[in-house]
Amino acid sequence: MKLQISTECQGHGRCYTLAPQLLSSDDEGYVTISGGDPIEVPEELRELAEDVVGSCPENAISLIED
């Protein structure tokens, strides 16, 4: 399972404040993996990853199942 974030990120910061275990921000407040490679999500963080997907006001986040 992977999290992917598109270039639609507008820096609301919901995702990385909700899941600092998975995501962090750059100096401008955009999530660091915006527009980049997806990151691996361990199975025990599935619920958190799902919350992260629904938290994005820009619909920029998707969860890719293996």
């Binding site: 507008q10 820096g11 609301h12 910061g13 919901r14 990385y16 404040t17 600092p20 921000s25 750059d26 100096d27 401008e28 407040g29 955009y30 619920e47 799902e50 919350d51 629904g54 938290s55 006001p57 619909n59």
Partner: protein
């Protein structure tokens, strides 16, 4: 539970349905919605959709694969709790075992003279946005009554197209939750971008022939207008619950777990919910922000599957944002409840700033201007709000902060 019914097919209702499915609910899931559209996201309506930059499909929220029995274009008329049924306007009934109420809110219309004229717009749903977009194609003079979120965002979108814009409010500054100092900054921002602001100005009425032609101020001044946008806030859609025995005034009163007071089979999410928030000292608050609707929907969907004692409370500090010209305004907590709002950190040129709101000596909310990266630390602080002076000292000592406010010791 066999049948979960969600009333309200917008963000909060959809997030509830998604959360219930993800948490393993495999019974019947019915979604009742007043609009003919499937759920869509509203923030772009006053920005990209109004500007004509986003097409309709860009605002649709993904909702396939959830096994939802959709009842769209169907307004709920009443709730019969003893029989556990929703009665729709067309007389149909929908039975439930558990119910999630997420009927949202509707815009306040112009209540005074002239409200029946053509050319008067509100902006709440997709059809409103498309109608206003169409009106903008005629390059109208746009007069906006109400300088809140909608008024300010419509003003900036109209100015980006070079339309003549007048923004009127009876309050002395726009965006009231920002407080007077930041409100004055916001007024200046609009002024710099060519908006004609009339603050502290009462509106006596709208006049015209068949079509609106002017907004008449109480001072006697007449502001010409081809299009009037009314942005006077929203009212929760709860009238249909009056008579159900639930506590409605006008928010639907819930406990911290978003369970309706007095009925554990009914939960709620989004604009209609009045719930006790720790940042409000346990007073019931009602919030009309996107993220609150999204997060409450998610929690209500999960909580609906378990018994009341296992339900979790919604305690997140509310978040909102507003894009105005080149500034992203972001807020956490309840700055509208602050007794004073003070600058906490700023880049030397002032282009990025964070303000804190204090109430009874404690942090109650923050407002950030182009300072998204600073939100995380304040979000944590707001979970257990520090004394304001303590916060100020810790920000001053924080190497990641933007910098000391100009003029600070």
């Amino acid at each position: 539970m066999k049948r979960l019914v969600v009333v309200g097919a917008s963000l909060a209702g959809l997030r509830a349905a998604q959360a219930a499915r993800k948490a393993g609910f495999d019974g019947e899931l019915v979604m009742v919605g007043q609009e003919r559209h499937r759920p869509y996201t509203r923030p772009p309506l006053s920005k990209e959709v109004l500007a004509g930059e986003h097409t309709v499909d860009r605002v649709e929220l993904p909702c396939d694969g959830l096994g939802i029995d959709w009842r769209l274009g169907a307004a709920a008329a009443s709730l019969d709790r003893p029989r556990q049924r929703i009665i729709l306007k067309d007389g149909d009934e929908v039975a439930y075992d558990r119910l999630i109420l997420a009927t949202g809110s509707r815009p306040r219309r112009w209540p005074g003279p002239g409200g029946e004229l053509e050319g008067i717009h509100v902006l709440r749903d997709l059809d409103d946005a498309l109608a206003l977009r169409k009106a903008f194609d005629e390059r109208p003079r746009v007069t906006i009554v109400g300088a809140g979120f909608i008024g300010c965002e419509v003003a900036q979108t109209a100015r980006k197209e070079g339309l003549d814009v007048t923004l009127i409010d009876i309050a002395p500054t726009p965006m009231l939750p920002l407080g007077p100092e930041l409100g004055a900054w916001c007024a200046e921002l609009h002024h710099e971008h060519g908006v004609d602001l009339r603050l502290g100005a009462g509106v006596a009425g709208l006049t015209g022939d068949r079509h609106v032609r002017a907004v008449e101020l109480t001072t006697g001044e007449s502001i010409p207008a081809d299009v009037v946008v009314v942005g006077l806030g929203a009212l929760p859609n709860t009238e249909w619950l009056v008579g159900s025995g639930l506590a409605v005034d006008p928010g639907l009163h819930c406990d911290g777990t978003l369970t309706a007071i007095g009925d554990p089979d009914i939960l709620a999410a989004g604009d209609i919910v009045a719930w006790p928030h720790p940042l409000a000292d346990g007073e019931a608050i009602r919030i009309e922000h996107w993220t609150v609707a999204a997060e409450q929907g998610l929690l209500a969907g999960r909580n609906a599957l378990v018994e009341p004692r296992e339900r979790k409370a919604y305690v997140s500090p509310p978040y909102f944002w507003s894009d105005q010209y080149d500034v992203k305004i972001q807020s956490l907590g309840l700055p509208g409840r602050a007794e004073r709002v003070e600058l906490l950190e700023s880049t030397p040129d002032g282009s990025r700033r964070v303000y804190g709101g204090a109430r009874e000596g404690r942090l109650v909310g923050i407002i950030a201007l182009n300072a998204a990266r600073r939100l995380g630390s304040y979000r944590m602080a707001l979970e257990d709000p520090p004394a304001f002076e303590e916060l100020r000292a810790s920000v001053a000592a924080d190497p990641a902060a933007l910098g000391a406010p100009v003029g600070a010791a």
